[in-house]
Symmetry: C2
Subunit: 395 residues, 2 copies
């Protein structure tokens, strides 16, 4: 009995690999400030549970495989408010954004086929692609440019006869970059030229700062080739609900993906009910959340700017910032902070960027900070990080 | 832009294909008795929502990728009660049994690899296998034997150098067969001889009748090769919750599957909470449900026995019975019942068995009845079916 090569090829998350060291540190009495995962600390709106309590059904039956119609209508209304013209019939509710990505990749690529990805990228893209034997071909964004969209020449270099699509997140996890209209247009033009699908992961849509406006890939009206991946996880601090969206105006693609959706029967009903409650709220919640993240972003930015040799631009979106540090091995550095470093018995855990690259050996000087703690703690954490960089290089 | 061959290969469910005809019939004022899907009509225990209401967290955060420890402990206790010695560390909570099957297939088979399946089989196995390019190789069970496990010679014929495992459900969906110790031993011995994994889908564990005892594949203590797939959907009438289980005592296999589980982050939190509530209930609920299904089973059996030329054995488990009827095309027959037949303006919808076979052209004389209505309605429905068979052949 052998395991499949595909599962053997999958790498355990580099963040998770380091968790035992964090646990050790805590056991030894250290406080560990966690900036390593995108798990917001903010309260989930009560509207989620209120809706479930008010509308609980007698039988928790299968819902429509595309999700409850009432929920798809609520999503459609939400998208229209953002000038994204999805009707309920163009939306499939999924088990988190995760399942939407698997559906998208499986529908456009066979084993051995390729999908171009802007790297560094959301680390789990890799696991999804490996599970279904799709090859991710990276095109590299650089910390020096604030992780802007690479040049079209770079995209051309990544192209092969097996290329079927392009995937990226905008606003970007892990970099915090938000793509401009010009940058997006270059991606869309490239996709048009080579007849590729575009998988646009827009789960951080609301979180763009300094007056930067989020532009959906749907704005380019390349409807047949555009797939939007979405999720309520970050927007409503409801990561554990597992409610995401696969949406496209390409009817035939929608029907193909529905075959996969029907196989797995339906997304979770109680979370679907709760999400209707969330989507029915007015905008004051999102505004408050937005302001909180903006405050945190500025706090992190201020402290990071004090690190000599750090390469990064002011992050414009999501709740992450990736930064190149004067270190030689980000995994070692993160581990060392947990095992050998502390200030006032407190240390910090961040994510080494190695796991966010498909190119072997990349990300060794970069880390990702998720600003998921309140500003004062964040400032302290970033200060500890700055001191750790110095101490690490003098050790 | 082309769609992937794998998604094009997936067939829309033959049950779903017929739904528009049922809708037409209803629009025309007919009553349609639905025996076509395994969606129980029984109330979901209040314990599900009670637990959520009592334990709702401030933040709906990601849970452990294997599921909440408290839930895995509850599942472990449940299994131990059934003499299945799974510890919480051997359990991964999944998005329904569906995801557990995808995990199992992906972990043991690469694209092009084969898994033997006893057919007719749960129709969605096919969709899962196609999505990840695993080939299901059927070994045929016959209505004449009550869909007993085929002979070892048949299994040998299905074997190739690419065979990686065997998958089956016991009690069986769609046939209602429950495998005896001798039958299971033959499967296990075959797997041992050829060093294959066994994927044992036991979601109908509680539903075995006439004193038949359910035997888990775990009873054979072939722990390294045994994977148990489970779900709360049918047991607690909670299909829409999407809580399933992947369980194995093979530690290395567990770790491999955990990489996939980590990619998709976690199963739905609210449903996990609700499931703790369900598993904490005493056995009176299951007993009541069991008795209800048994009553229904006998009602269906009695009426089915009146159909001249029907080939089937008294079903022993799950809440299905498959039957071979004197008809030429089960899909056409089901459609015809919806469009052209009624007694007292009432007709019946059952599932043609064609979609439950991998062998092209099979199942044309067979249908599946799900006894998910109360006995009186069931009797009426089966009577209508019996009359329909006569009328269909005289039309």
């Amino acid at each position: 009995m052998n395991f499949s090569q595909r599962v053997l090829n999958m790498q355990a998350s580099p963040i998770r690999k380091l968790v035992p060291y964090a646990e050790e540190a805590k056991k030894a009495g250290k406080t560990v400030l966690h900036l390593n995962i995108g798990q917001p600390d903010l309260e989930t709106p009560k509207a989620f549970f209120d809706y479930i309590e008010n509308y609980k059904p007698e039988v928790i039956a299968y819902t429509h495989s595309a999700g409850l119609m009432e929920l798809r209508e609520a999503f459609s209304k939400y998208y229209n408010k953002h000038d994204i013209p999805f009707t309920p019939e163009e939306i499939i509710v999924t088990n988190g954004g995760s399942e939407a990505i698997v559906f998208a990749l499986a529908a456009i690529a066979d084993p051995g086929d390729e999908v171009i990805v802007i790297e560094p990228f959301y680390a789990n893209y890799r696991g999804f692609a490996e599970m279904i034997n799709v090859k991710l071909v990276p095109v590299r964004a650089l910390p020096e440019t604030g992780y802007a969209v690479p040049s079209t020449e770079e995209f051309e270099k990544a192209l092969s006869s097996k290329t079927r699509g392009i995937i990226f997140s905008n606003p970007s996890n892990p970099t915090g970059a938000v793509y401009s209209e010009e940058e997006l247009k270059r991606i869309v033009d490239f996709a048009k030229k080579h007849d590729l699908f575009i998988i646009s992961d827009e789960v951080y849509r609301e979180f763009t700062f300094d007056g930067t406006k989020h532009i959906s890939t749907m704005a380019f009206e390349e409807y047949d080739r555009t797939i939007v991946v979405d999720s309520i996880s970050k927007r409503y601090s409801a990561c554990g609900a597992r409610v995401g969206v696969f949406a496209t105006k390409n009817k035939e693609l929608y029907n193909q993906v529905m075959k996969m959706a029907q196989s797995r029967l339906c997304p979770p009903m109680t979370a679907q009910l709760g999400t209707i409650g969330l989507l029915e709220m007015d905008d004051s919640y999102i505004k408050e959340v937005y302001e909180e993240y903006d405050k945190r972003r500025l706090a992190v930015y201020e402290e990071l700017s004090k690190i000599e040799g750090a390469v990064f631009k002011k992050p414009k979106g999501a709740f992450y910032v990736s930064v190149k540090l004067p270190i030689d091995d980000s995994e070692e550095f993160v581990k060392w902070m947990l095992t050998d470093f502390a200030i006032d018995n407190t240390t910090v855990m961040v994510a080494p960027l190695t796991g966010f690259y498909a190119t072997e050996g990349s990300g060794k000087q970069e880390i990702r900070i998720a600003y998921v703690l309140e500003s004062e703690k964040l400032k302290k954490a970033t200060y500890i990080l700055a001191e750790a960089v110095k101490a690490y290089n003098n050790r």
